[in-house]
Amino acid sequence: MYEELLESWSNEKADELAKEFRFVITDMICRSGSGHIGGALSLVETIISLYWRIMKVNPKEPRWDGRDRLILSKGHAGPVLYAALAYRGYFPMQWLTTLNRDGTWLPSHVDQIRTPGVDITAGSLGQGLSCALGAAIAGKMDGKDHNVFCIVGDGESDEGQVWEAAMFAGHRKIDNLIAITDYNKMQIDGTTDEVVTLEPIVDKWRAFNWEVFEMDGHDWDDINMKISAAIAVKGKPAMIIAHTIKGMGNAAVEGQVGSHNIKIGDKTAYEKYIKALGYECRLPYGEE
């Protein structure tokens, strides 16, 4: 679906896909009764850009050796990745109705064993950047030309292991590693400035010998420009600070600290979250 966007990118068409993603993410979380909605919605434009505009992938062969890797270190944002993988054809759309259900292939936190297209298991925060670094080093050892992308949460960046990986990637000049911080500026107990500030975040990453970019994580052109620039960096790893809004596009949660994980108890709550999207959306699963 949305193959035409792969052939010929248009921001208008991408907007349509983003709307559909926001519906699918909200719908799958509502169906499961709870889920990490805020940090999934903040990544919609970034993930669509990666899977429709930037990354080399082959959905028919998820572990194709020449693919670019994506490691979603903030593993709780699984729903946005599942939307991308389903719409790119890694698995049937119907799977999107099974988030967190008994025996599901789509667990709340991403799992490389269970889900086609998931490169690394994540969810216990702080580990993904190290894994991405390992994958990038392996690519260098073998002289391969693919890139390893890694999306790190801002709250996740409280973990010390993130900075162990930052220091070592800078030391080894691992330039096939492109990290993105989803800087929606909120974590579970409050804003990042209230809990543990990351500022000055750009200076921090620069001090670790990374090339650093900032982008508007909801602006197609800016995303494309900055990720392309990050890919072009040679001789050091690149970090893109993506300024995003937690819960973006769903008025019931947008910009709210409480959007990290919501509970949906009944049909009334379900309708509230769907209506809060502010637009009509067809069910993509072939059901009423």
Binding site: I71, D111, Q112, I113, D119, I120, T121, A122, G123, S124, G126, Q127, G128, L129, S130, C131, A132, L133, G134, A135, A136, I137, A138, G139, M141, D142, G160, Q161, E164, A165, M167, F168
Partner: protein, 310 residues
């Protein structure tokens, strides 16, 4: 120089070089303890492209190893047992075992062999920690030949594995023909009066105790477990059915490690009286090995006493 004339860490490093020569996907990782593990400079100078020293950052080392393994590499990540297990439990649990990434964790200087580093560095829980983790195999070879066989097996199998590596020179028990099978215990001595079950560092003491017992006319059967997980239940049940008395000996806490495995199996499949020797729910301290053996009661003399009194 024969393998048994070298320190085990030298054997580890030289064997890694052999494995790298056979398969360039084998990678040696260190967290600033390459000299202690024997890989620096033995591996770092001979195979610099296959050697990664991440600095004092064990969590990062485990994550990098998982990423390497996800790309088909075969990482051997080594550091002291305390840092290789308790410090990075969650990293190993999620990035290696749960994700089933083919990472080989190597814990060096196990248990009381940490000596003068004392209680902070003396880890008695690594085997219990690792054994409780699904997918994880746990190996503790006793001599240089067994170590080499175990490492060759590890390099050929896709299996998250924890290897307990004794750094010192160890007495020879096996030879170059030794074949490691993780599903099999090794019967080092047959006997009918009592069964001594041991692993890794303690097997030489078990054999010494068996000699002392033989002098008193007591025939001990010595079962050596190079693999604590998987655990060869058949060999244990067969021996316990014969002797009806089992003494387990390990260089770590008696809770959840080898002794735990022995009791779990026997209580379900062959109820037998068992005496567990090892560290009895205590922390370590700076001391000589003899002092610690005596204090915690699991040296050869204690094994003999246990076998006689059980």
């Amino acid at each position: 120089m024969s393998w048994h004339e070298m320190e085990m860490r030298t054997v580890y490093a030289k064997t890694l070089n052999e494995l790298i020569a056979e398969n360039p996907d084998v990678i040696s990782l260190e967290a600033d303890l390459g000299k202690a593990s024997g890989t620096f400079p033995e591996v770092s100078s001979k195979n610099p492209g296959n050697f990664i020293d991440v600095g004092v950052a064990e969590a990062n080392m485990i994550g990098i190893s998982a990423g390497l393994a996800s790309e088909g590499k075969i990482p051997f990540a080594a550091t002291f047992t305390c840092f290789a297990s308790r410090r990075v439990y969650d990293q190993i649990y999620i990035s290696c075992a749960y994700a089933n990434n083919n990472v080989k964790i190597v814990g060096t200087a196990p248990g009381l062999t940490q000596g003068s580093n004392g209680g902070t560095h003396m880890d008695f829980t690594d085997m219990a920690i690792m054994r409780a983790m699904p997918n994880m195999h746990v190996y503790a070879p006793a001599d240089a030949y067994e170590l080499r066989a175990v490492m060759k097996h590890m390099a050929k199998t896709k299996q998250p594995t924890y290897l307990q590596l004794i750094r010192s020179k160890e007495p020879r028990l096996f030879d170059d023909n030794y074949v490691f099978n993780p599903d099999k215990a090794v019967i080092l001595r047959e006997g009918s009066d009592v069964t001594i079950v041991s692993t890794g560092y303690m097997t030489k003491s078990s054999l010494k105790a068996a000699d002392m017992l033989a002098a008193d006319g007591i025939m001990a059967e010595v079962l050596h477990y190079p693999s604590v997980k998987p655990f060869d239940e058949i060999a244990l049940v067969a021996s316990a059915s014969k002797t009806r008395k089992v003494v387990s000996v390990e260089n770590q806490t008696i809770i959840g490690g080898l002794g735990g495995a022995v009791c779990e199996v026997l209580s379900e499949k062959c109820p037998t009286r068992v005496k567990r020797l090892g560290i009895p729910d205590k922390f370590g301290e700076v001391a000589t090995e003899k002092y610690l053996y005596d204090k915690h009661g699991f040296g050869p003399v204690n094994i003999v006493e246990a076998c006689k009194s059980i």
